[in-house]
């Protein structure tokens, strides 16, 4: 992070006026701090990707296969025939410019090629050249250009500067979704072995061990056992998580990031406490799985096929264990995959039951086919029916705001459930300005597999709009805690906050719930899950 410019400088210097030169005439400059390292060939080979090779984005020669243009052209054509989204989005953009200033990377960097419309034009220009009559006849004046190595590098650079957050798609009069363009473009790049390592290695890990971090089953159990000890210290209760238990009521799946790094770990502890509470009070039997130990899906950032390969474990494990339905933890893109892809890819899940909350009797009608319920929907239902003993005053030291993660926002429409939960467990809640939340929410700047260390400048600039809105409520209301329902957020926001608004900390929703939750038989709590004194318990 030492090369990173100061936050005030970035904010002061960012310039949004377009350059004099046309964008087709500006060659790509692959700049340090803005890109992620090339995929480790070992990781790509683990899943049998094509054209795996050693290469470095900074090198002139990317060691491409000889017929790379042919591969790309064929891949392009295949996908035009398979995805109506791609075909229609290639054809109908009128370049009205409504999307131009909607992208957080454009706002943060001022780079015109981060305007959603130009990101798509990078691909459309080649589409026109290869697949349309006007492009073939008129060439450049029709906005067409030939694929060459410079164009390919440009694709690569900018397709890994899009976090697939879909904010632009909300504003497009035709619903053109840059996430679709990016997903499609990255699929093409993967045909040439041009993934980034921050995606490829988690994918390879997940395929083998069941989670992105490569945690093996015994280690996974060890890590949760470690939390058991912490929770016991704080509450006096042994929460006894269950693993791979056949015949449990519910299989719980959450991103492995929450097992691994703060502050996600506190959210993970929160889940364990919630399940213990529900077991003791109502006899609900929840199991974790070491095989399906990853909610997230970096395959989503690679290709549709890879997404499906990784996602398959959820249903497979639910079937093997014979649970009734699946409960999903707090994660962003995980929920895009579950909400819009899983049933289609790996369903129908006819071996599961239509999800019913056995404690409240609520039928989760909206999940009756996919049979997977979001923890916020589940918790909100429990609270609404008065099934949780809560002491919100334990969160009284917090002034909380809520970040709508891109995917649960624009790929699921989950806005009010988490807010209801927060309001029930915290006394002080302040939303950020309306134009930066809900369907207008801004990405954390690190989504879609871009939360590496080497692209810190990209992440900090991309996160600027979000951070700026947090700063606004921090200054106005004294907000000191940013709540979210996404593991990438929990991994990315601590860096982003310390860069832009260092006074604000980051939490998952269930951590807040667990702090307020009164476990049966617990001892007088003196600290929260982070070991910090509770309000009124300071020395």
């Amino acid at each position: 992070m030492s090369d990173l410019p100061k936050s005030e400088e970035i904010l002061k210097d960012v310039e949004h006026a377009p350059p004099k030169k046309g964008w087709m005439n500006i060659p790509v400059d692959i700049r340090k701090g803005m890109y992620c390292y090339a995929a480790n060939p070992k990781s790509l080979n683990a899943l049998g990707f094509p054209n795996v090779h050693e290469w470095n984005p900074k090198d002139e020669d990317w060691n491409l296969p000889e017929n790379w243009q042919e591969i790309l052209h064929k891949g392009f054509k295949e996908r035009l025939d398979r995805f109506r989204s791609v075909k229609v989005f290639m054809d109908i953009c009128v370049r009205c410019g409504a999307c131009a200033d909607k992208c957080h990377y454009f706002i943060g960097t001022g780079d015109p090629k981060n305007m959603p419309v130009l990101r798509a034009e990078l691909l459309r220009s080649v589409y026109r050249n290869d697949f349309t009559l006007a492009g073939k006849l008129l060439g450049k004046i029709a906005g067409a250009r030939k694929m060459d190595e410079d164009v390919l590098k440009e694709w690569w650079y900018y397709l890994f500067q899009c976090s697939e957050c879909r904010r632009c798609s909300v504003f497009c009069p035709y619903g053109i979704d840059t996430a679709e363009i990016t997903i499609f473009g990255r699929e093409l790049l993967n045909l040439l072995g041009l993934n980034i390592d921050w995606i490829a290695t988690p994918v390879a890990n997940c395929y083998r061990t069941g989670n992105h971090l490569g945690i093996q089953p015994h280690a996974f159990k060890d890590m949760l056992d470690f939390f058991v000890e912490d929770i016991e210290d704080i509450t006096g209760i042994n929460v006894e998580p269950q693993f791979n238990k056949k015949g449990a009521d519910i299989l719980f799946i959450t991103p492995s990031g929450d097992v691994f790094a703060d502050p996600g770990t506190y959210t993970c502890m929160g889940y364990m406490m919630l399940f213990k509470y529900l077991k003791d009070k109502y006899g609900l039997d929840v199991t974790w799985s070491t095989y399906a130990s990853e909610g997230g899906n970096f395959g989503f950032f690679t290709s549709h096929e890879t997404m499906k390969r990784l996602n398959s474990k959820m249903y497979a494990e639910a079937k093997r264990l014979g649970v009734k339905w699946i409960l999903g933890g707090e994660c962003g893109h995980m929920w895009r995959v579950i909400n819009q892809y899983m049933d289609t890819m790996n369903g129908p899940a006819d071996f599961l039951e239509e999800p019913v909350n056995p404690i409240t009797g609520t039928r989760f009608e909206n999940a009756k086919s996919t049979k997977m319920v979001h923890i916020s929907e589940f918790t909100a239902d429990l609270i609404k029916h008065g099934k949780l003993d809560l002491d919100p005053s334990r969160n009284d030291d917090l002034k909380v705001t809520f970040h709508d993660s891109c995917n649960p926002a624009r790929g699921m429409g989950m806005f009010d459930e988490p807010r209801y939960v927060i309001r029930s467990v915290c006394n002080q809640f302040y939303d950020m300005p309306r134009n930066t939340i809900r369907e207008n929410t801004f990405c954390c700047g690190s989504g879609s597999g871009l939360n590496a260390g080497e692209d810190m400048e990209l992440r900090m600039t991309g996160g600027l709009p979000r951070a700026n809105a947090v700063k606004f409520v921090h200054e106005k209301h004294g907000v000191n805690m940013l709540a979210c329902v996404c593991a990438i957020d929990r991994a990315a926001f601590p860096d982003l906050m310390s860069y832009w608004v260092p006074e604000v900390d980051v939490t998952g929703l269930t951590e807040l719930v667990a702090n307020a939750l009164i476990l049966p038989g617990e001892k007088q709590r003196e600290t929260n899950l982070r070991g910090e004194p509770l309000p009124g318990m300071e020395e």
């Binding site: 005030e8 377009p18 995805f83 109506r84 229609v88 054809d91 109908i92 953009c93 009128v94 370049r95 009205c96 409504a98 131009a100 909607k102 015109p112 305007m115 130009l118 006007a134 004046i141 029709a142 906005g143 879909r166 798609s169 909300v170 504003f171 009069p173 035709y174 619903g175 979704d177 395929y207 093996q216 015994h218 791979n244 070491t290 095989y291 549709h304 390969r309 398959s312 474990k313 497979a316 093997r320 892809y341 049933d343 289609t344 890819m345 609520t362 909100a380 239902d381 624009r410 790929g411 699921m412 429409g413 989950m414 009010d416 300005p433 134009n435 930066t436 809900r438 369907e439 700026n468």
Partner: protein, 332 residues
């Protein structure tokens, strides 16, 4: 100056001169008044259908609506039926809002850096310009049916009444004509002078604007200034639509230019971005229900993929699992 809009402007000027010279000098009234209009209509209809069928032949493998509001979930949570439609009827509502009222454009929030604050303000000029332009175009088109129908149907005369209710000038001024001119000028000027929009624009973005501008200007010229003999013009247009094509004497050249430019617009339509008219109905982020967990969507080309099964996983880690006290399927 910019080669993209110069190219488009020159193209329109050339088309104008082509028709003018063709009629005025070469006397090709039949070509410009009969043959080209017929061909243009055929190209428009066939081309439009071709493009739409191409889209329709491409499957929608995944249900990927953009959820612009609260999902339908727990019964006590207010559901945003239009922005996150759960039923087909609600999707029809969302599409109607999109197609008739330009709902998404209405959301436009323009970004501005104000000191160390980033602000996002409602900005409705693009929406307004687009609404004015499209509806004015629609009204003008319907009004032109007076040249293509005998007797003139009630909805055309009714629309003319409404459109001219100010009773300004003679021949009475149609507001739609002025609105169309204003709309197309606004969109063109915006494209040329607003930095980002100019930067992303292609020649094919300017061409239809200039073409429509030329169509509107020639039409207004004929109605208010240079004048044409309306009954004679109608005789020609009625001849076209009753398959009795003939070119009566005494129609000014400007009319043939106007008709030719309209023909060019029709023929150009299916092969250009103007197909957004059909495409808006095909956008999977808008035209699908958001009940994606309640109803399974089928991908017609879903194919089996290699997966890492539980058995393979257990084989990899069995010893460790047993040692850690994790349940296993096979002890050995």
């Amino acid at each position: 100056m910019n080669e993209k809009y110069l190219f488009s402007l020159m193209s329109v000027v050339l088309l104008f001169l082509l028709a003018y010279a063709g009629v005025e000098v070469a006397g090709l009234q039949v070509l410009f008044g009969v043959i080209i209009p017929y061909m243009a209509l055929i190209v428009f209809l066939a081309g439009f259908a071709y493009r739409v069928i191409q889209w329709a032949q491409t499957p929608v493998p995944y249900k990927i609506p953009t959820t612009g509001g609260q999902q339908k979930s727990l019964p006590w949570i207010q559901h945003a039926a239009i922005d996150c439609p759960d039923t087909k009827a609600q999707v029809v509502g969302r599409m109607a809002m999109e197609v008739l009222l330009f709902r998404s454009l209405f959301r436009n929030l323009v970004f501005k850096k104000e000191g160390d604050k980033l602000a996002y303000r409602m900005e409705l000029f693009l929406w307004l310009g687009a609404i004015v332009f499209h509806y004015a175009f629609l009204v003008v088109t319907i009004r032109h049916l007076r040249f293509f129908a005998e007797p003139v149907p009630f909805f055309v005369t009714g629309l003319e009444k409404v459109d001219s209710f100010l009773q300004l000038g003679l021949p009475v001024v149609y507001m739609s004509g002025i609105a169309l001119l204003a709309g197309v000028l606004y969109l063109a000027i915006r494209r040329i002078y607003v930095g980002h929009t100019r930067y992303i624009s292609l020649a094919s973005d300017f061409f239809p604007l200039f073409l429509i501008l030329a169509i509107a200007v020639t039409g207004i010229m004929m109605r208010y200034f240079t004048k044409v003999d309306i009954p004679t013009v109608k005789e020609l247009t009625m001849g076209l639509v009753t398959f009795r094509p003939a070119v009566p004497e005494g129609i000014g050249t400007l009319f043939f230019v106007h008709l030719f430019l309209v023909s060019v617009l029709l023929a150009y339509f299916p092969f250009s971005k103007l197909m957004h008219m059909g495409g808006v109905f095909f956008s999977p982020t808008r035209n699908m229900t958001c009940n994606t967990r309640a109803e399974r969507h089928v991908n017609p080309w879903n194919y089996p993929v290699p997966v890492h099964t539980y058995e393979e996983y257990e084989d990899d880690f069995r010893e460790h699992m047993i040692e850690a006290g994790l349940p296993v399927e096979k002890k050995e």
